[in-house]
Amino acid sequence: MISRNEVSISKLLPTSLRAAIIACSFWVLSLPMTVVSGSVAAFCGSLLICYTIDLRLDREFFSKLRTLSIIGLSICLWATGLLLSNFFVNTEIISFSASPLIAFNLSEAIKWLALSSSLTLILRTLAQRTSYGATIEIIFVAAAFVITLAAHRNGMIHRPFLIGDFAIIRGIDPSSILMVLGCAAVISLSALLMVEKNHKRLPYHFSILGILCLSLFVYVNFFGIPTPQSTDTMGLTGEASDNTNSQRDNPFRDGENENSDREAPVAVVVFRDDYEPINGSYYFRESAYSQFNGTMLDYSNIDGMDADLIKKFTIDRTEAEQNPLAEDQHKAIKTTVGMLVPHRNPFGLESPIAYENIANPNNVRFKRTYDAYSLAPQYSFEYLLEREVGNEEWSEEILTEYLRLPDDDRYRSLADELIGNLKPEFTNDPFAKTWAIKAYLDENGIYSLKNEHAYESDPAASFLFGDLTGYCMHFSFAATYLFRSLGIPSRVGIGYSVPAANRAGGSALLVQAIHGHAWPEVYFKDIGWVIIDPAPQQTLVDMTTDPQDSLQQLLGDMLRNDSSFQDFLESQRTSFIQFGTILNIIYALVITLILIGYVVKTYRLLIPNFSLANERYRVSYRAILDRLACIGIRRRFGESREKFASRASKTVPSIIELTDSHLSCALGNISKWKNYETNWQEFERRIQQEITSNTNIWHRVVGLINPFSWLLTK
């Protein structure tokens, strides 16, 4: 006979646990979408509904309503909340009488309160009344975790910021914190499963959860942490190919990919020498389209052409066959590149002259790491005036290739028209010509990621003589064709172009997918390939990105792997308690505790064989209670031994007789124990038999494994 009060006390703990988990999920979900008042309201609303449903209205009012009407009621509640919240924002009563800030906070709080309470009402109702409801609830909690951590995907290891910043400040790899969060997710889900009413389904649910976690673990161990594969529009990334001259896909059609992960980091570059670009952007050349194949420009397959490009990854050191000339106008720069995503070719700061493989400081994070040696331009554009183009070392064939363009007279006529406006002194100057063309594209071109020319036979012509709307590939191809039509040897360089401001004063530079770029290049005699990049003044897309300074620094530090950075980490750690040490201590403690548990368990089971005669009634009975506790049969608080025995007798009938023997010794005359001493072995054998025949093996195995089952014996 348990009073109702006790029932609710025994329900209080699981209810509180469940309420806390669901409310926290709402809190976490609401964080990025609302202000503090909204989050607090979401938390409180969910908590309130959980308690109300589980403790109060279980029997009377609540049970009279149908499930559908409760769902309807919740939706009405939600709608009312939305209306009310809109009312507060749209009318001037509160904003005038109090302040607009209060009105906004109030409206957010009401909105989230209504949302969380109505959703919790639906979730809890379904969980209580239907067999699938608990699953929906668990999926909701899991989704809350996943959505919170989703910012972490695509290699943004410093996100979400509240986790990333915390970790970076303390010099911890944020992924370990994310692992901890993942564990927390699993533990919360397990807790949610534990408080489920239907205990028969528990092993099934737990095994699914276990298999899920195990498979994730195995996947990460065998295949590593998943990395984004197609992250740019330029075809720069992908598996490194030995034959770079193979016919590849139409570069204009890459832009059709719907890219939601434009901000994904693809590489990090650490500058070992001081360098600032003269034109506001760092250019990293990976390759170039230089040979006209009849329809468009493609990789060259002619010996001696594009001799400055390094087209394969190296085992030790590879140098370009041809370096930029005029060394006084270039500065030798050493950079270290860490590729986060596999690339087809290595790339380096313009112009790369040599690559040297270096040891990878972090195999999980970096796909490839190498030092790049570059001769970066230091000249201003005035220096290019009155210079000739072309290279005398080029064969006739190569020069022809650098001047071939589609058989379309419009290129030549447009180019002539554009250079017609030049001042007389510049009419024969190649650089002035290229600049006039660039200026035309800058003024008239419209930058857009919409690609409406992809299926034309000559997308560049369609762009140039059409709406002049396109992206870098169109601009660079059009410019190159125009240059070539004027007899200026040129090609399309591809790689990355990162705004100089992104470096933010540090020595590391993060390259993101959005920085993938193509640009026209012109070969000046005695200088080399010079980038003349059109920059359209009109743009239809916002190509700016949020600065990822912390990620940039984190990856840079990781790539640099300097002892100074290690020292910095050490200094950070010593001021704090060491994270790793704490983890190890916890592991050791847990293992010690488990071992102690087993030792005590074994001791209590074996001690009846060695104990004194006047102690035996006690330790023997305790050993048998331990066996029962293993299979989940234990005395409740305030329950007498006899009541427990009669309850347990459903599984082990002998317990009644045994309890009588025990109590007669404990509460009666101790000398009577002699009567039962001979029966002890018999008792234990019988109990063991009854346990075996009345419980299933799964139950017994779990009981055997549990190191702390003896704690349940009271």
């Binding site: 006690r618 009975y621 209670l625 007498s640 031994r641 404990a666 509460l667 005359n669």
Partner: protein, 349 residues
């Protein structure tokens, strides 16, 4: 005489019985008596096994019981069956009879129940005319309907086992057992018993209506049961007295049990909902009852079961609740929980 031979027990006088030396079988003798008594009463009273058990416990533990019940629910049948189950040697000069019933009314006088000295003109002497209290089992029907004066005479008899008339004290039998009743609802024109007087009763038992099957059986077999009343007198007065002494000597009350009782009392006194907790005397009175309860279950030791069974009946008329509080069962239950947990744990220490 002190051989403890069970065959001869019936011939022993009450004083001799007290000196009987218990042997290993003696508790079985007592439990046999209890069982027989139980069986006999059960034949007469149907569907009241729990009340019969409590009545027998009170009888052996030398206490009295107060039944709270509606008219016609079998109180008299129970009391009569108890009285008739005990056989007495019917000698002519023996004033003690097995069973008496007193219907309490407002105009009753103390001498009506105790008896009066009567002048006998034949022998020219004053004889004491024994009243209805001189019986083994006395049914005091509707005890709250009589005046406090009579009530106090009655309660003195219960407490002291003697009546005093005209400065002469007449001893009542050792086996003096009162079953008092009162109607819990019909309170007009009554003199409710104050708490100190209620303290004289070992148990206050609130009876509910019997279940359907038992009620049907009562209707089916009332004639046969009436005929049975003159048979099966297998328990004698000395049997009962001997059982009392054997149980007292042989049933162990461990220190933990006593500690539990004290803890329960202390908890109750501390409880805000209780205005006045139970007396120490109530716990003292409870001890023999616990022993009998244990013996009824063929145990040689008092256990938690006995406490759980008897505490509510012993305490429900002994503690006064704060105004506005009514659920005494719940209060008892809650205050017993922790000491019982302590007791259960102590058996493994």
């Amino acid at each position: 005489m002190n051989s403890g031979n069970t065959d001869k027990v019936t011939e022993l006088t009450s004083t001799d019985t007290n000196g009987a030396k218990p042997n290993t079988d003696s508790l079985e003798v007592a439990t046999k008596t209890l069982k027989e008594l139980n069986d006999i009463v059960k034949q007469q009273v149907l569907g009241r096994d729990d009340v019969i058990e409590l009545a027998i416990i009170a009888l052996i533990a030398d206490g009295h019981i107060l039944l709270e019940d509606f008219p016609g629910s079998g109180k008299t049948t129970l009391a009569k069956a108890m009285g008739e189950a005990i056989e007495t040697r019917q000698s002519t000069d023996e004033p003690i009879v097995p069973f008496r019933r007193i219907q309490f009314t407002p105009d009753l006088l103390p001498s009506d129940i105790t008896g009066v000295p009567v002048f006998d003109s034949n022998s020219n002497a004053v004889h004491f005319h024994h009243g209805p209290l001189f019986a083994h089992v006395v049914l005091a029907d509707e005890i709250n309907r009589t005046s406090p004066k009579v009530q106090s005479a009655m309660l003195e008899a219960m407490g002291e086992k003697q009546v005093t008339v005209d400065n002469t004290t007449y001893l009542l039998d050792d086996l003096f057992f009162v079953i008092a009743t009162q109607n819990p609802l019909d309170l007009i024109g009554t003199y409710p018993l104050p708490t100190p007087q209620l303290d004289r009763f070992l148990f206050k038992i609130t009876m509910d209506h019997i279940d359907r099957a038992s009620e049907l059986e009562v209707l089916d077999s009332y004639k046969e049961r009436r005929q049975l009343t003159n048979q099966h007198k297998t328990v004698t007065r000395s049997d009962v007295l001997m059982a009392r002494s054997i149980i007292d000597k042989n049933v162990e009350i461990s220190a933990q049990i006593k500690a539990t009782l004290v803890d329960i009392s202390r908890n109750l006194r501390k409880d805000d909902r209780v205005l006045q907790g139970n007396s120490t005397r109530s716990m003292v009175l409870l001890l023999p009852a616990l022993q009998v309860s244990a013996a009824l279950r063929q145990r040689e030791y008092v256990s938690t079961e006995d406490i759980e069974l008897l505490i509510p009946h012993v305490l429900n008329h002994r503690i006064e609740l704060a105004p506005g509080v009514s659920d005494i069962k719940k209060i008892l239950q809650e205050n017993m929980q922790e000491p019982i947990e302590k007791l259960a744990k102590s058996t493994l220490k």
